[in-house]
Symmetry: C2
Subunit: 324 residues, 2 copies
Amino acid sequence: MAEHRPTMNDVARTAGVSLKTVSRVVNGEPTVAPDLAARVHAAVESLDYRPHLGASMLRRNDKRTRTIGVLLDDVSHPFSAAVHRAVEDEARARGVHVLTGSLDHDPVRERDLAAAFAERQTDGLILAPTGSNLESPTMPVVYVDRPPTGAAGDTVVSTNVSGAAGAVRHLIAHGHRRIGFLGGDQHLSTARDRHLGYQRALGRRAGPAVHDLRDPTAALAAAVAMLRGPGSPTALFADQSSMTIGAVRALHRLGRQHEVALIGFDDFPFADLLDPPITVVAQDPSRMGRTAAAALFERIEGYDGAPREIRIPTTLIARGSGEL
Amino acid sequence: MAEHRPTMNDVARTAGVSLKTVSRVVNGEPTVAPDLAARVHAAVESLDYRPHLGASMLRRNDKRTRTIGVLLDDVSHPFSAAVHRAVEDEARARGVHVLTGSLDHDPVRERDLAAAFAERQTDGLILAPTGSNLESPTMPVVYVDRPPTGAAGDTVVSTNVSGAAGAVRHLIAHGHRRIGFLGGDQHLSTARDRHLGYQRALGRRAGPAVHDLRDPTAALAAAVAMLRGPGSPTALFADQSSMTIGAVRALHRLGRQHEVALIGFDDFPFADLLDPPITVVAQDPSRMGRTAAAALFERIEGYDGAPREIRIPTTLIARGSGEL
DNA sequence: AAATCGAGGGACAACGTTGTCTCGCAGTAG
DNA sequence: CTACTGCGAGACAACGTTGTCCCTCGATTT
């Protein structure tokens, strides 16, 4: 015959009890006699019965799916990956599973995936917003890395302005006056905030700045041009790790890695093994992920306070490249 | 009133058609008059109706959930993260979503998560097996990075033996005779295979070997001990990136990074920026992920051939640390 | 010994959707 | 003018599970 998934009815028949009793046992209700429960468990084992999640969800439509969605820029990027892992750990502690997606800063993908997750009835969403306006979400959402545009919700961000300002002040304290800025996509508030911190620390002395760099290669080219140009800076500030990598490559290519200072925003692996070791403003992506997950689960549990902005402090890790 | 999710019935009422017609429109059946379809679409929009996935799955129980599971060692590890991203891209191209989990080499977690995903009715699973015996899975599974124990299935692996042997032969060709081995958990076939490649290339000349190193710190200590001990090797081979990092730190700490050669299995970010740049046997995790996903989708589509072992070639990237 | 009580367990309906069947109606042929 | 065809659309049942209600049966009380 056609083999079909065993149902509660099948279990009930082999255990010699009623359908409802099986349901009780499976759901752990206490009002079942021990011997019956044992018979049911045995039948479940022998048939390899698994409850049909769809049917269960249908009947008690209040039930959580115990699944959340996590939409980040790129799950293979170290920052996103660390956030993802931290969220997963928090979720696991609560028996919740995680659906993931990489957005690559594409608003269309953001909208599609958010809608798909909504349809799948995830209980909530952790989102690194692309910056386009989003429709008001149909489930709890916590934003991470940057605030949403055109919506409100709990947001977990790094202290971008003060972190960048601290880095630049560190350079100033070591005697630098001409400090170049290498920045990514200005549509993202992180890039804007870090540039703002840079400007605040320098005031009128703000040096050459290049924005909207797409990748390390673009940053490399921009850094080389900046260092060869007139009024060549004595120090560089890079607003994210891919910019920092480009800057490192540029300095090595020019052979000036020991005479031009460099501080990067966001730590990266092996920064301490380079020559010179790279001074960075470290974010704490694990803590950001944990915090975002904790906030999301509070919302899922029903907390209904005003949107919160949670700022995770950055740490200046002086390794030698910024103190030249 | 209690606000509840709009149902097809609500849509039917506002559109002034029957329940079934709404079902037809939502499912894109062609036999609906255009004006009715338009009315239904308008009603769907205005009510923000979303089909209830559970109910849908219940009725047509053949339907795919269009979700797969991906269980890797640690989604924040660069190798796993790259595999994950590649799988996600393949899945997206097919309109499939991805549930993730990090196993941390824990067989309990592997079993729990695989069972949970099965219950959620994922269409398939991509798994980096922990090495414990697993029960025969209830859905298509493709193994990645290493083959399963006590089960059979499509498996996507790197050419571990020949890759490691090639690296060691590279060292031999540059005059090295005493070559130390730094290896991870021998329960994993990757560690065993890479050690086997090392042994094959060296034959009777196999040098000092340390196994079961847990992390870079352990590898650092082992490398220092090895280099200070009698018959100190002139070259090191590290069987995975965390071992390589430990070896790099050890060489730097001893100040011998320019006199002891080093080749690591698995590339890592910025290996080319270190001093000296690190020669590695690069895996291709993106291709492994894409290949695994492609194989999984073939299985999901019903392909039922014998289990395949797909070997993804490694590439020796000579950067300077292995040619001292 | 009769009445009461409580707990275990079963019958039944309902969740939101889709497959099947049927019906109505317009268009066409006989 | 009737009969037939075909297509669009509605009525109804069914998917597997859980909530509600009720019944049974043994134990306790008076």
